[in-house]
């Protein structure tokens, strides 16, 4: 019975459906537990212990009801609270946009999960029945396979039956787009619309300011983000995330994995800074600065709508971290999980593919931990400091780095894109160091920026030394 169900499933349901279900389920559950992790990290940094009372028994379920499990039940209790709370909508808000905004936020993140390369490419075999006297067997077989499945070699006929043994491969991800990186960048920059629309629809000046700040943040940091990604893309000549990961799956001098973090550390640091700004997280969280803007763009939100904003923020963190892993840490690359030399993404074993997904997930979690670690270390930047960091520091540096990279790629590769050799990697590393040193030297020569936060001599203010004119028409009425 079960084997028949499995057979029916493999024949009728394309593999990406299952991957999509599992990936989204895992990401959404992870978001809930990331909130717990965030609170735990915050506590540890401050010498506390964090939530440690609510176990998975919730004091109701027998046997385990008194287990505390280090607060593992806390996210579920929080979620329940969000559902049960009053969903309050203030008078004077834009009713449609007020509801659409959190949905938009979460939609964007859900879509962007689609192109994450979870586990390379899986090769498998299946028996397909093709009607007798079919002229184009391969096309007929292809029609019976799911979308995205690619036939390897020719289908082999079994004896004199109508059945063919077909070897095919499918990418172990939801959608294998050849513009994966571009897609993620494009979709993630849409997430600011959720913030802006939410802020505007709230009809509240704090929310509105939060939305404005988020926009300025996003616009500024998109540029260095794109340039840092471009540094990687020009090295490999592809935008396909799966291919980018695959090309990192070899070693230099036998033991150093060919991950881009070793060739482009400066690009990695800039990318990390930019995704912090992109996710609107401390030290770039001016959009929801509690001390200045009450709650920022989600001041007026409560209950499930607020939860969606929260979910979107954390899920966005997961996606950007996953992209970071794919671009700089070799994605699912791990000793023992690589396929044959020359095509390391390929695997015939489902278990290997799942293990790759687990490795990818764990690497992502480590980057997310860095996010939290940074949040509880650094104080928030002033708004002009944020803008200065983007426009006066990150954009010129990333441009310089991109120029260096393109020159090196041209010298070594010409027009072909082979695997990155050890000497080229070393050159890139040195180029990174040179750019960093150049930045240090050049920054001494740049004249200091004009003083911000300077006192403005407003007429008649207490900082103004000159006395008020006797009869000023603007002040008399």
């Amino acid at each position: 019975m079960i084997s028949r169900v499995i057979e029916w499933w493999t024949v009728n349901i394309p593999p990406w459906v299952l991957i999509a279900l599992i990936a989204h389920g895992v990401v959404m559950l992870t978001v809930a537990y990331l909130i717990l992790l965030e609170r735990k990290v915050a506590s540890w940094v401050q010498d506390r212990l964090g939530p440690n009372r609510v176990g998975l028994g919730f004091g109701i379920i027998p046997i385990i009801k008194n287990w505390k499990m280090n607060g593992l039940g806390q996210p579920l209790a929080d979620g329940l609270k969000f559902i049960v709370k009053e969903d309050y909508r203030p008078a004077g808000v834009d009713k449609i946009l007020f509801t659409v905004a959190p949905g938009l936020m979460i939609l964007v993140i859900v879509v962007s999960i689609a192109v994450l390369p979870w586990g390379g490419i899986r090769q498998t075999q299946r028996v397909v029945t093709v009607p007798a006297h079919t002229q184009f067997v391969t096309e007929a077989v292809q029609n019976q396979l799911a979308q995205g499945d690619q036939i390897v070699g020719n289908p082999v006929r079994i004896g004199h039956t109508d059945q063919y043994q077909v070897t095919y491969e499918y990418p172990f991800q939801i959608a294998s787009l050849n513009i994966g990186v571009l897609f993620i960048l494009a979709v993630l920059s849409l997430s600011v619309y959720g913030v802006v629309i939410g802020g505007w629809a709230s009809n509240n000046k704090y929310s509105f300011l939060g939305g404005l700040r988020a926009t300025a943040n996003m616009i500024s940091y998109e540029i260095p983000l794109g340039l840092a990604v471009l540094c990687i893309v020009v090295m490999y000549g592809t935008l396909d995330l799966n291919l980018l990961v695959e090309k990192q799956c070899h070693d230099w001098v036998r033991f150093i994995p060919a991950w881009n973090v070793f060739t482009q550390p400066l690009a990695f640091i800039m990318f990390l800074i930019c995704i912090h700004a992109e996710a609107n997280r401390a030290p770039f969280d001016v959009a929801e600065a509690e001390q200045e803007l009450v709650g920022g763009y989600h001041t007026e939100y409560s209950a499930m709508r607020f939860a969606l904003f929260f979910l979107g923020e954390y899920a966005g963190m997961i996606t950007t971290s996953a992209v970071c892993v794919a671009l700089f840490f070799g994605g699912w690359d791990f000793p023992g999980l690589r396929g044959p030399v020359g095509h390391p993404a390929l695997s015939t074993s489902l278990i290997i593919c799942i293990l790759r997904a687990v490795v990818f997930y764990i690497k992502t979690l480590i980057i997310i931990f860095v996010f939290m670690w940074v949040r509880w270390t650094l104080p928030r930047f002033r708004f002009d400091q944020i803008m200065m960091l983007a426009w006066r520091a990150l954009i010129p540096v990333s441009l310089a780095l991109l120029m260096m990279t393109t020159v090196i790629v041209y010298v070594y590769h010409g027009n072909s894109y082979e695997l990155l050799g050890g000497s080229m990697a070393l050159t890139l590393l040195i180029a990174n160091a040179v750019v960093a040193a150049l930045v240090l030297i050049v920054s001494t020569m740049i004249p200091p920026a004009p003083a911000t936060n300077r006192r403005l001599t407003v007429l008649g203010s207490r900082f103004n030394k000159t006395p008020l004119p006797a009869a000023s028409p603007s002040l008399s009425n």
């Binding site: 540890w44 212990l49 270390t377 240090l440």
Partner: protein
């Protein structure tokens, strides 16, 4: 204050590394990581797990507190015959800065005093636990006990009447003799 008394502090000049910002960020990350390591691996947190651990059970240097000097909920003391000691002189309610003690005096049924409190209500929500009533009492009838974990579901519950205050005495007299 003379001008010579004023000490002018200059802002420390930023070094190259400070201006580049990243080294300082890494130092900060190191500090927080040290704290995380100390809590998670070495278990050096500064938390008192309240209902299981109580501050009065801990040594003072570990965040403990001395109950001897703690001013908690009030109690009305009884004499050897089990009668309320209070003579309804109104000294405590006069001394009370929060005006939370309400006494109704009545003719005493006992020969050794003229008055006794027919009603004695203390609003524990208004009380600021200053201990002035205890200081004012001429017969040591009202005292602040060491009990601090009093709860109530309504405001009415937190207005302690005479019976309740005498009950506090019965419960605390073993640990805290008069």
């Amino acid at each position: 204050m003379k001008d010579s008394d004023v000490i002018v502090l200059e802002e420390p000049k930023l070094s190259r590394a400070d201006q580049f910002y990243l080294p300082q960020v890494l130092i900060g990350l190191g500090t927080t990581m040290r704290h995380m390591f100390n809590v998670v691996v070495r278990g050096q947190d500064r938390v008192v797990q309240y209902p299981e651990e109580k501050r009065e059970d801990l040594p003072v240097e570990k965040g403990g507190m001395l109950l001897k000097t703690y001013r908690g909920v009030h109690r009305l003391n009884k004499d050897e015959e089990g009668r309320v000691k209070c003579v309804a002189c109104f000294m405590c309610s006069t001394a009370c800065p929060a005006r939370c003690i309400h006494i109704e005096a009545a003719e005493s049924p006992w020969p050794d005093r003229e008055k006794y409190p027919a009603k004695f209500d203390i609003d524990e929500l208004r009380c600021i636990y200053c201990g002035m009533c205890e200081e004012a009492c001429p017969v040591d009838a009202i005292e602040l006990s060491h009990v601090y974990d009093i709860v109530g579901l309504t405001r009415q519950e937190m207005i302690f009447d005479k019976a309740k205050l005498l009950n506090v005495f019965d419960e605390t007299v073993k640990h805290e003799p008069m």
